[in-house]
């Protein structure tokens, strides 16, 4: 298979984003857990909570630093690999990225230094403020990056400007309060909390199995189980689907997730299992629960969830309308000045302008969309269907794991309330083995959201294939190999250090009286 620059750029983005997202969920959740633990320390004065904060802080640091390092790549590769995208939507998409830096990254990164280096330099409350600042900063960053991503899925508050050949913002408030972005934020942050909770639960269970650090392990488990139960309920109940009916392509994503080829009478059934075939356009061996999809997706009994074929037919209409807009755009630009544009052309663009992106889907088949044949238009309409089997399976793995996390955290919450956390060894082993699962669920979540967005980079506005830089395939391949090599080495080192730090366990608490603290530090306390 020959990979062109579009495929390679997508591969590089997927690789670097999925890798970056190995570190982000744990940072999101663990920062909050650290802040909770330290709050208990400051409120009760019990030093075991300080010890806990410091221990989990070491693991936090090993993870955090790779999130920071790989986040750099995320900030710059839009310009590197997706330069037409950057030009076309930078007016809107750049703002949340800049705000993420201003509001979130500075807060997080400035105070994380104090979290590690400030234990002896700050008062108890002063240090606690630094820890909460780190937690707030990392959670704010999730908000802004999901405002940016939400806009890619549901491009509100913007319009195409023929003079600058790009999308420009018309209503920034709408961009920020985009319902898709809000749903994504709650869902992603909750997923981060679940990840950290399962991580703390699993590591603590391992200590209980080995009979080490019992006091710290039990307390950590109690915090993780209660926080994790609330988070895993939120991640499932406030799932991303709430945003799936807001736009046409979000509906397409939902139909692909369900492998629902044809529209069904409401409320639609939910396919629990089956083998979707893109060739036959049907799902073989489907096991279905009546009504369930209609309830999940629309939270009503009479709203129709459209199927793939209906959505494709509608896409075909929009492509035709897009061709009219494309034609009008060429005439507007040929006119030179605003005054010289014939009123009929102006009207044609105003009526069909929102479908301009659909005409660009034809660029795969013809240079000038106006010359496309009906067959090419039909083919382009079917291109709007993302990979159905990928979405079908990724979604089911993610949701299955989500329900498992609810059960797991609920069980440990119950055991913690009964003070029998260390009684059932098989359950402790289950918690240990569950450690990698939240990462699988989180990566599947990315797959559902972003593979599900294809063929669009900005839904309905710009196809992914039109968004790349004019680079040589060999050039992009070079950086893919380079990043892959570096990332592989780093993940091995990170895992080794993580395992060593866990094996070593918490440092014994320094007795404040016996400790020889230099005089100038005592003064600061």
């Amino acid at each position: 298979m020959e990979l062109d620059v579009v495929d390679l750029s997508r591969l590089q983005f997927a690789m670097t984003a999925l890798y970056h997202f190995l570190f982000v969920p744990l940072t999101l959740g663990l920062s909050v857990l650290l802040a909770i633990m330290e709050t208990v320390y400051v409120m009760t004065g019990r030093r075991v909570w300080r010890q806990m904060t410091k221990f989990w802080g070491v693991l936090f640091g090993i993870n955090f630093v790779l999130g920071v390092a790989t986040g750099l790549v995320m900030e710059f590769q839009f310009g590197m690999n997706w330069s037409y995208y950057s030009h076309y939507v930078g007016d809107i998409f750049g703002a949340p990225l800049a705000l993420e830096g201003l509001m979130a990254f500075f807060l997080e990164a400035t105070f994380v230094g104090l979290f590690f280096f400030g234990w002896d330099k700050l008062s108890k409350v002063g240090h606690l403020i630094a820890t909460w600042a780190v937690a707030a900063g990392s959670n704010f960053s999730a908000l802004w990056i999901l405002v940016a991503n939400g806009w890619m899925q549901n491009p509100v508050g913007s319009a195409f400007n023929p003079q600058t050949m790009r999308m420009e913002v018309t209503d920034f408030f709408a961009v920020v309060t985009n319902p898709v972005a809000q749903a994504k934020f709650v869902h992603t942050v909750s997923a981060g909390y679940v990840t950290a909770s399962i991580f703390v639960l699993g590591v603590s269970a391992w200590y209980l199995l080995k009979g080490r650090h019992i006091e710290i392990a039990k307390r950590s488990m109690t915090v993780a189980a209660s926080f994790g139960l609330a988070a895993s309920l939120s991640v499932v109940v406030l799932g991303d689907e709430s945003g799936y009916l807001t736009t046409e392509h979000q509906q397409m994503k939902l139909a692909a997730i369900e492998a629902m080829w044809e529209t069904e009478p409401a409320p639609a059934a939910f396919t629990v299992f089956g083998f979707p075939s893109e060739q036959d356009r049907e799902t073989h061996f489907a096991v279905r629960i009546p009504w369930a999809l209609g309830l999940i997706a629309t939270r009503s009994l009479d709203t129709v969830v459209p199927g793939i074929e209906q959505l494709v037919n509608h896409a075909e209409e929009r492509i035709k309308s897009g061709i009219i807009a494309f034609d009008a755009l060429q005439k507007i630009r040929a006119a030179g000045s605003t005054a010289a544009i014939p009123p009929a052309v102006k009207d044609a663009f105003e009526d069909n302008g929102t479908d301009l992106g659909y005409a660009l889907l034809l660029k795969r088949y013809v240079d000038d969309p106006r010359t496309a044949t009906p067959e090419q238009i039909k083919a382009a309409a079917w291109d709007t269907v993302p990979s159905v089997p990928t979405l079908f399976w990724a979604f089911r793995i993610m949701v299955g794991l989500g329900f498992f996390f609810i059960v797991l955290t609920a069980v440990f919450f119950f055991l913690s309330a009964r003070r029998t956390l260390d009684r059932y060894r098989p359950l402790l082993w289950l918690a240990v083995l569950a450690i990698p699962l939240p990462w699988i669920a989180a990566e599947m979540g990315w797959v559902v959201a972003e593979i599900g967005r294809q063929p669009w980079i900005i839904e309905g506005v710009l196809p992914t294939a039109a968004a790349v830089s004019s680079l040589g395939a060999a050039t992009v391949l070079t950086t893919i190999v380079g990043f892959a090599a570096l990332y592989t080495v780093l993940i091995i080192i990170e895992m080794t250090l993580m395992i060593r730090a866990i094996a070593k366990g918490p440092e014994p608490d320094e007795d404040p009286e016996a400790n020889l603290i230099p005089a100038h530090l005592v003064a600061a306390e």
């Binding site: 640091g61 590197m80 800049a98 700050l122 420009e168 050039t475």
Partner: protein, 385 residues
């Protein structure tokens, strides 16, 4: 929303041109001293404890400093999208080299002292050195190439195409000179930081390296200016340009012109303050290091950085990224910004958040004030670097 029309579009563009300068200078001053510290690491610190002292001198602050770079990326994307698109894709492999090196740095800081062993720590010392040197060098090389013009053109859809511009083509003599200037400048600045934060042998060595780097900075900066005057053509807009018009670079014409990079100084002599501060700051850094001052050298080198980066901006104004193969595709202040509304929203955001950031960053630096204490590093094995 009509609120944004309170400030004219052309005024906003000039403000954002200034803010672009503030961001680059902020990055070079704040992250610059820890890049410089990494470059100096193998030279000023020989034993493991000395190296840990050097690393811990930037340990609590490098993360915050690096955000200047990330914010730079985000703000250029938001305010100058076409600049973001052309420069990062045009300098593709150079950007990759910078990112590769910058990834090594955080990991090096954090992981180096997590294990004993000569090989482990030695390898991370190399990683840190590369992580400081390569970004400093390549960013300088990039600026040297921007001054000469970059081989790109825009088509009618404003899609960007490059004619050449691989990593090796960037390494032309003038680009290399600018790269070395950047390394010398940040080495001087890093030495100033180490003199402030360390004592004993490490500080003494930093003092000497810093003094040399300051002189090299002056030498290369002057040489770069003379070379630019004698051998490198500038760019000039040859059509009327609507300063508040739509952001479309193809709406103007431009040409390569001998001496055009010096036209601004002839028209506005006050702009000579840029190069003067670049030279005076570095000479002052040299003198203050010579006089064994501890606090002021790093301030003097910051002034020098301010002067040197301002000089680049003032020389090219209103050009931001000239095209050598198709001058009319060049990006200027008047035709490559975001929309009026976006520039306004981002200005308000900066106005709200930058004072807050400056406030808490100053507080953190005050908390961390004082020399790095070797005993503290040895005591705290789980958190210190």
């Amino acid at each position: 929303m009509v609120l944004h029309t309170l400030i004219d579009y052309d005024t906003l563009r000039v403000i954002w041109w200034l803010l672009l300068g503030v961001l680059l200078i902020g990055f070079a001053v704040m992250d610059g001293f820890d890049l410089g510290t990494d470059i100096l690491l193998p030279f000023v610190a020989r034993t493991d404890l000395e190296r840990r002292i050097v690393i811990n001198s930037v340990g609590p602050v490098w993360e915050g400093n690096q955000v200047w770079l990330i914010l730079g990326g985000g703000a250029i994307f938001a305010a100058w999208p076409q600049l973001y698109a052309v420069s990062f894709s045009g300098f593709y492999l150079a950007m990759f080299a910078i990112l590769f090196a910058l990834i090594l740095r955080p990991v090096g800081f954090k992981y180096r002292s997590k294990r004993e062993g000569r090989l482990w720590r030695g390898a991370w010392d190399w990683a840190l050195f590369i992580g400081g040197l390569v970004p400093a060098l390549v960013m300088g090389v990039a600026v040297g190439n921007v001054l000469q013009g970059v081989p790109f053109h825009l088509n009618n859809d404003l899609r960007i195409f490059y004619d050449g511009s691989t990593l090796f083509e960037l390494l032309n003599p003038y680009g290399l000179l600018a790269g070395l200037l950047s390394v010398a400048m940040l080495t001087m600045h890093g030495a100033g930081w180490l003199v402030l934060k360390t004592d004993g042998l490490v500080a003494e060595r930093a003092r000497r390296f810093g003094a040399v780097a300051a002189l090299v900075t002056v030498l290369l900066f002057v040489l770069g200016g003379v070379w630019l005057f004698l051998g490198i053509s500038g760019y000039r807009i040859t059509s009327v340009i609507p300063v508040a018009g739509p952001s479309n670079p193809l709406g103007k014409t431009a040409e390569v012109a001998v001496g055009a990079w010096f036209a601004n100084y002839a028209a506005h002599p006050w702009m000579l303050a840029g190069p003067v501060l670049g030279i005076v700051g570095a000479l002052a850094a040299f003198a203050l290091l010579w006089a064994r001052k501890e606090v002021t050298p790093v301030l003097a080198s910051a002034v020098s950085i301010f002067g040197i980066i301002s000089t680049v901006g003032l020389t090219m104004f209103p050009f931001i990224l000239p095209s050598s193969v198709d001058p009319k595709s060049s990006l200027t202040v008047w035709d490559s910004s975001s929309s009026h509304l976006t520039l306004f929203i981002m200005l308000v955001s900066v106005g709200i958040f930058v004072p807050i950031i400056v406030a808490y960053t100053s507080w953190v630096y005050r908390v961390l004030w004082g020399k790095v204490d070797a005993r503290e590093i040895q005591k705290d094995n789980s958190h210190a670097y």
